[in-house]
Symmetry: C2
Amino acid sequence: MASNNEDVKLFGIVESPFVSRVEIALKLKGVEYKYEVEKRGNLSDAVIQYNPVYKKIPVFVHNEKPISESLVILEYIDETWKQNPILPSDPYKKAQTRFWSKFIDESVDALRKVISTIDEKVREKGIEEIEEAFQILENELKDKFFGGDEIGIVDISAVIIAYWLPIIQEAFGFKLFTSHKFPKLYNWSQDFNNHSLVKETLPPRETLLAFYKGVYESVNASK
Amino acid sequence: MASNNEDVKLFGIVESPFVSRVEIALKLKGVEYKYEVEKRGNLSDAVIQYNPVYKKIPVFVHNEKPISESLVILEYIDETWKQNPILPSDPYKKAQTRFWSKFIDESVDALRKVISTIDEKVREKGIEEIEEAFQILENELKDKFFGGDEIGIVDISAVIIAYWLPIIQEAFGFKLFTSHKFPKLYNWSQDFNNHSLVKETLPPRETLLAFYKGVYESVNASK
């Protein structure tokens, strides 16, 4: 399912789960794209020009038209390439997937706070908040994937939980997401990470681990 | 354009700009609905049951199916009642409106910080952040409305800027949004607030002013 006469580019950084979301969606759709590797802290003029508001990645460019914000990009991809839908067509079910994608983004905000603070209390409160959110997701998960039998936008949004979080918690030395605490969510994460098309887009574990060990050092160096 | 055989309910609080978003969309669509008035700080069992994750309003219920989160509700309304679209049909233009609605929600978060802090520095920094965002919106506004000639989802999302903010800044005694600083945005706010269908959904100015004076007192009482 090649995309002929289409110019599809993704500007990203390998360590970004938000870029990973876009890559997974493109892979599931079978859309060919060119990955433009950016440098953290020194983004190219192209990214600044394509995303002048936030000046950040991912930036998705389809036939010279740029789109930013990963969830916005995912919806665009689903509306543009109809094969293997990642959102349901029913408006009510669609609303539910948007609700849960937003919910996951809020957990990501909490996680961001946890890994950027040196205040033990703030970290603990953040972890508690994430655990409450995960309990809600654990109860919500009814099928193999949040999307049912197939991977959908909620699963893709949650790649940070499935793949990034176990690595982040190893680098930071906390145990938030375990098979004991969240058995259904844990099984889901295994199925998701091992899905053949997802697997080939995920960055190497060792690269991410090294990166997040660096983040840990840099945050805690100021202690 | 009555909605026959439809059971449409909106659970809300008159002071909430997020509830106002939903009301405006329904009014523009000509969809009849029942407004269920909630009490701040003492939400009904119905709301808790319909929105167990956040336990907050607005909650929109269509034929017994509940939806939460105002932007999610707006997209559902647009997909369910096709007349007078509030999102463009073109996927790229649609992506742009989603980007800007999200951008406005981030300004709302900044405004929330500004009005809930007693720390002068935090307030000033928040105001600066909002002013930067407004300058971006000022530059973005090309037509009468963000939606073009007609009101769209970005305009509706920005009701908090058009109608709430002038009242909030009067209650709090700061001058962030003025015709001098943001002439295009200011004119837009007048056109928006005076649109006949919008006008009839907006709560009375005096009610909001009294409410936000109360918020100001309560925040600053702890000084």
